[in-house]
Amino acid sequence: MAQYLISVLDHAANSATAAEMAAITAFNEQLIANGHWVFAGGLGSPSTATVIDGRGEEPMFTDGPYLESKEYVGGLWIIEAADLDVALRLTALASKACNRRLELRPFMSV
């Protein structure tokens, strides 16, 4: 089994409608039932982000995201799947549920 990160591409935080939230919940229940679930969650908007550089003596905190862009990651899933074909099928269902475009990336295997 491999793990994959599904990033939700969005242009506004907390923008899911009630119908989308219901579809996401139903999809998540399916993930759990079929053993694909690892984690999922929505993120605060990029303006709530802080960039931290702790490599120096004193940690540096910078307000805002490390990259300004029109589209950003609004939420994420981490799923477990046997291979990319399974992950692609699940991600297509996730895209339908949350009504957003998604990016799928594999975690490096340990």
Partner: protein
């Protein structure tokens, strides 16, 4: 010596995909499989002239490549403990039996929809076709480093993202077969009408390679109608290759070709495939319909004997599957023969194909036939401006310059 060299060339053509495919399954690593297959062929070049060609060259190559892989993994295992596991998994050679399935796995992996189209083409030519990186670079007039990077990147994605090495599930199969055929058709089309002005007009090396790969896929999936349709389409197109370019290097349109120069064997094979599909009673896909259109054309000994109503009916059928403006353009060309250029010209009106040179030369030809010389000249100009193929440009320039002076 020469004989052995010829044997090695032939064995390479016939066995490369098999060796890579078998190793990829045993090793679970496409990149390693490719490298070891290449080393095994290098060993054959070195040893067969002295030792003689082994009785089963394919088995010799697979065994040699497998041993080399084990040696490589052992060396790496000494350096890196975690490779021991891989070594255990790949330790026992399996009998050569499920090999054909492996080649099919290889085809589907190389044509995976998560890879960019250009990567799929390069990977398929390398892994299944056995072409070297310099050969692929020459075929597409792209820098060797670019092709090398494309293949390396694709192999890394296959490995890290875990693109599976298997025939897709039943639910995914139709879409995935369509994806494989798109790769093969793209290779064929680049050969059929090279898009780059620096290339030869017709690249028989690429059309031949596409046909060879499609024959392989057909042997692996004999029941698939669209695979048969694509093979028939390629054969019926390839049959006209010699007649498509004149002695002076101009492209010759279908209606002006010397039909005696067409390859009768390829036509017979293509017609047999089309007939078998018609007899199946299954609804045809787009490649089968395009093959049927080409069967009608190649059935006519003289262009005047062409059954144009049949051609138009087939384009109607194709348009129902694919209502694209390009299909409507091709349909209009047949309509011109059936109902005259005036009707055809009206059908072209408003098609959103301004950047597509066949649209302009079709209009030019229809306008010329209607005696509207000035408009025809403008349409030829636009077609010449957009065409990338030298032989095609040469033909269009001559046609334009033959128009009566205004």
């Amino acid at each position: 010596m020469t004989d052995v060299a010829e044997v090695i060339t032939r064995v390479h053509r016939e066995e490369w995909a098999r060796v890579v495919a078998t190793l990829a399954r045993r090793l679970g690593d496409l990149g390693l499989a490719e490298e070891m297959a290449a080393e095994a062929f290098a060993a054959a070049v070195e040893r067969w002239p002295a030792d003689g060609v082994p009785p089963n060259p394919g088995a010799w190559l697979t065994t040699t490549a497998h041993r080399k892989a084990i040696d490589r993994l052992r060396r790496e295992a000494r350096r890196e403990e975690k490779h021991r596991e891989a070594l255990m998994l790949s330790g026992s050679p399996e009998p050569l039996g499920v090999i054909d399935d492996d080649r099919l796995r290889l085809v589907f992996t190389c044509c995976h929809p998560a890879l960019a189209m250009q990567a799929r083409v390069a990977l398929t030519l390398r892994m299944v076709g056995g072409l070297t990186v310099p050969e692929i670079a020459r075929a597409f007039l792209v820098q060797e480093t670019a092709i090398g990077q494309r293949i390396t990147r694709a192999k890394a994605k296959i490995k890290v993202a875990r693109i599976p090495y298997r025939v897709p599930s039943r639910e995914d199969l139709p879409a995935r077969v369509t994806g494989v055929l798109a790769v093969l058709y793209l290779i064929f089309n680049e050969g059929y009408l090279a898009s780059n002005p620096g290339a030869e007009a017709v690249r028989s090396d690429l059309t031949a390679e596409a046909i060879r790969l499609t024959r392989l896929v057909r042997a692996l999936m004999p029941a698939d109608g669209e695979v048969a349709g694509l093979l028939a389409l390629m054969l019926l197109t390839e049959a006209r290759r010699i007649a498509r370019v004149s002695a002076s290097g101009e492209l010759v349109p279908l209606g002006e070709q010397d039909r005696g120069a067409w390859d009768r064997d390829l036509i017979a094979e293509g017609h047999a495939l089309v007939r078998a599909r018609l007899a199946s009673g299954q609804a045809p896909g787009r490649f089968q319909i395009q093959a049927a259109i080409n069967a009608v054309h190649t059935d006519a000994r003289d262009v005047r004997d062409t059954d144009w109503s049949q051609v138009v009916a087939l384009y109607d059928q194709l348009a129902r599957l694919d209502p694209s403006p390009i299909v409507r353009l091709n349909r209009a060309i047949a309509v011109a023969e059936l109902d005259g250029p005036e009707v055809a010209l009206a059908e072209l009106d408003g098609l959103p194909l301004d950047g597509y040179h066949p649209y302009h030369y079709t209009r030019a030809d229809l306008l010329r036939r209607l005696g509207r010389g000035e408009q025809a000249r403008a349409a030829y100009d636009r077609a010449i401006e957009l065409a990338g193929n030298t032989a095609e440009t040469a033909y269009l320039i001559r046609r334009r310059d033959q128009l009566p002076a205004p």
